[in-house]
């Protein structure tokens, strides 16, 4: 076999790379019980200032403040600062009402000029709370998130260890009633939060303190210069990296649960995830000296962390090159293409089954709501291809009988076309998912858009967002802060 064919086969198999890395990440979850931080925890209640940046959050801010006032935390150790970023709706009035309802516990900080981004808004609040010595810890959260009553105290107990500078919680999708998209996000958060963050605890490097739940010690905020970096779309990730790069430890507390309202429309999801993906590309560039360079002072340079980071960031590239290589192989060595395709998809199906089954067991409560979306996360066609890879004989039997039943036996002769289609699908799935976005606001979009996402896959939709982020960053497109709209659909009983 020529070198060129070997290269193509290698590129095809690289298409399974992200799922193989994800499987490794999930295996580490099973080792989490050996890396727990509880032996260094204590039931402490530092005086905590809660910072909530708010721009036009009238629909959600009142309920969020009420929930905070019901936290299982000493009231005299808690102060809520809502930083009104020059809202134009009823937000200031809601905050004033809450400040009157909870005197000495809720404060309004008003910015006269807003719209400069979340980091600028937070810095306004940080400046205020650092001005006196009351605050021992600061919790940065979003206006729409709802903290379960025990969540804050479950987080603060880690600050008893002086090595720990920051703690984050398990963000769960909490919209009720939800829709197909929020269920996909619900499943995604099991994988990206409950599972991935546990594995990051195991390797000792956390990728991101979730923007909706980041608890910092005062010492950490001061060590960071008392400010959040304003030049990035991923200010929470930058803060997380800087904290760890100075040798401090960051911990994920999986039993502290915070519910967030996530987008129920692809248009809003696309906007949010594009910001995140572009932020991650900016972080990749900003910390380019960190990657794959093990360091005694932190674990961000570990090979494992680098694999986790880049397998997600480069997943669309792996998918496109795998598809392109398969198609090229198809035209120069059809038999080899078929074998490479099988090896790729059998690897994919084993990883998919392990990750899906394990995810649903990691958070069975959420899993009961989202199991259909978990199964269809890669898209219906990908699931069928995986079934064909792992059980070709039964699937062929079923397909032939279905064609006979439908009176379409003549289609059996299109095997080569079907083969080529399946080779292209890995890349094409992103296009179909993108069509789901385009269809959303068109005629019958309410039906066609979800259908296209179920067929193309939610995973491929996220990959399409990452592709868009590549393009935006390459073009150095405007990187202004674009806030996700919230309507107050989170329910604590979720």
């Amino acid at each position: 076999m020529s070198d060129f064919k070997w290269v193509l086969v290698a590129l095809v198999m690289a298409g399974a790379g992200p799922l193989v890395v994800a499987s490794y990440q999930f295996l580490l979850v099973g080792w989490h019980f050996r890396r727990l931080h509880y032996s260094k925890c204590a039931p402490i209640f530092p005086r905590t200032a809660i910072l909530i940046p708010a721009w036009n959050e009238a629909a959600v801010i009142g309920a969020s403040v009420d929930r905070l006032m019901r936290l299982e935390y000493p009231r005299d150790c808690l102060r809520v600062f809502v930083i009104d970023d020059a809202s134009t709706d009823e937000t200031p009035l809601v905050i004033q009402a809450k400040a009157a309802q909870y005197p000495g516990a809720v404060f309004q900080l008003r910015r006269d000029v807003g719209g400069q981004g979340k980091a600028q808004t937070l810095n306004h609040g940080l400046e205020r709370i650092l001005a006196d010595g009351w605050m021992q810890a600061v919790l940065i959260m979003d206006a729409d998130v709802i903290y379960e009553p025990d969540s804050l105290r479950l987080m603060t107990r880690h600050l008893a260890d002086p090595q720990v500078a920051a703690v984050t919680a398990y963000i769960k999708e909490g919209s009720r009633p939800g829709n197909y998209l929020t269920r996909f996000i619900g499943y995604e958060y099991i994988t990206a939060q409950a599972a991935a963050r546990r594995s990051q605890n195991v390797i000792g490097a956390i990728a991101c303190l979730a923007g909706g739940a980041q608890l910092h010690s005062r010492a950490n905020i001061e060590a960071l210069g008392g400010r959040i970096e304003t030049g990035s779309l991923a200010e929470d990730t930058v803060t997380t990296f800087k904290t760890q790069l100075r040798g401090a430890r960051v911990v994920f507390e999986p039993h502290a649960v915070v519910l967030a309202e996530e987008p129920g429309e692809i248009r809003a999801l696309w906007k949010q995830r594009l910001r995140w993906a572009r932020g991650n590309l900016q972080v990749t560039r900003q910390f380019w000296r960190v990657w794959f360079r093990p360091h005694s002072g932190h674990r961000l340079g570990s090979v494992s962390f680098g694999l986790f980071w880049f397998s997600l960031l480069l997943q669309p590239i792996f998918m496109i090159t795998a598809s392109a290589s398969l198609v090229t192989l198809y035209f120069i060595d059809q038999s080899l293409a078929w074998h490479a395709f099988h090896a790729l998809w059998i690897t994919n199906v084993l990883a998919y089954v392990f990750i899906t089954a394990y995810s649903l067991m990691i958070d069975p409560r959420t899993g009961r709501h989202v199991w259909r979306e978990a199964i269809l996360f890669p898209g219906l066609i990908s699931v069928v291809i995986m079934l064909a890879a792992i059980a070709p004989a039964p699937l062929r039997f079923l397909a032939y009988h279905a064609l006979d039943y439908l009176g379409a036996s003549a289609l059996r002769g299109y095997g080569a076309e079907v083969e080529l289609f399946t080779y292209i699908w890995l890349a094409a799935s992103m296009g179909v998912a993108y069509l789901g976005k385009l269809a959303e606001n068109r005629f019958l979009g309410r039906f066609t858009s979800p259908l296209l996402i179920y067929i193309g896959g939610y995973g491929p939709l996220l990959c399409a967002v990452t592709c868009a982020a590549y393009v935006k960053e390459l073009r150095r497109a405007d990187a202004s802060w674009d806030k996700t709209e919230k309507t107050g659909k989170v329910a604590i009983s979720a």
Binding site: L27, P43, C77, R153, H255, L350, F354, A357
Partner: protein, 48 residues
């Protein structure tokens, strides 16, 4: 200044025990998920 400590230690210990138990359970669940994968591999090798 040291942060205030006001929760009864026994409750804290119970919570930690419960969390550790949950995390150990995740190790068992990982083995179950791996067993499902093993069954798939066996099925494939046996000629499905």
């Amino acid at each position: 200044m040291m942060p205030r400590e006001s929760r009864p230690p026994s409750s804290f210990d119970d919570e930690v025990r419960s969390a550790v138990s949950y995390e150990k359970g995740l190790a068992v669940k990982a083995l179950i998920a791996l067993a499902i994968v093993a069954v798939l591999i066996a099925g494939r090798l046996l000629g499905f």
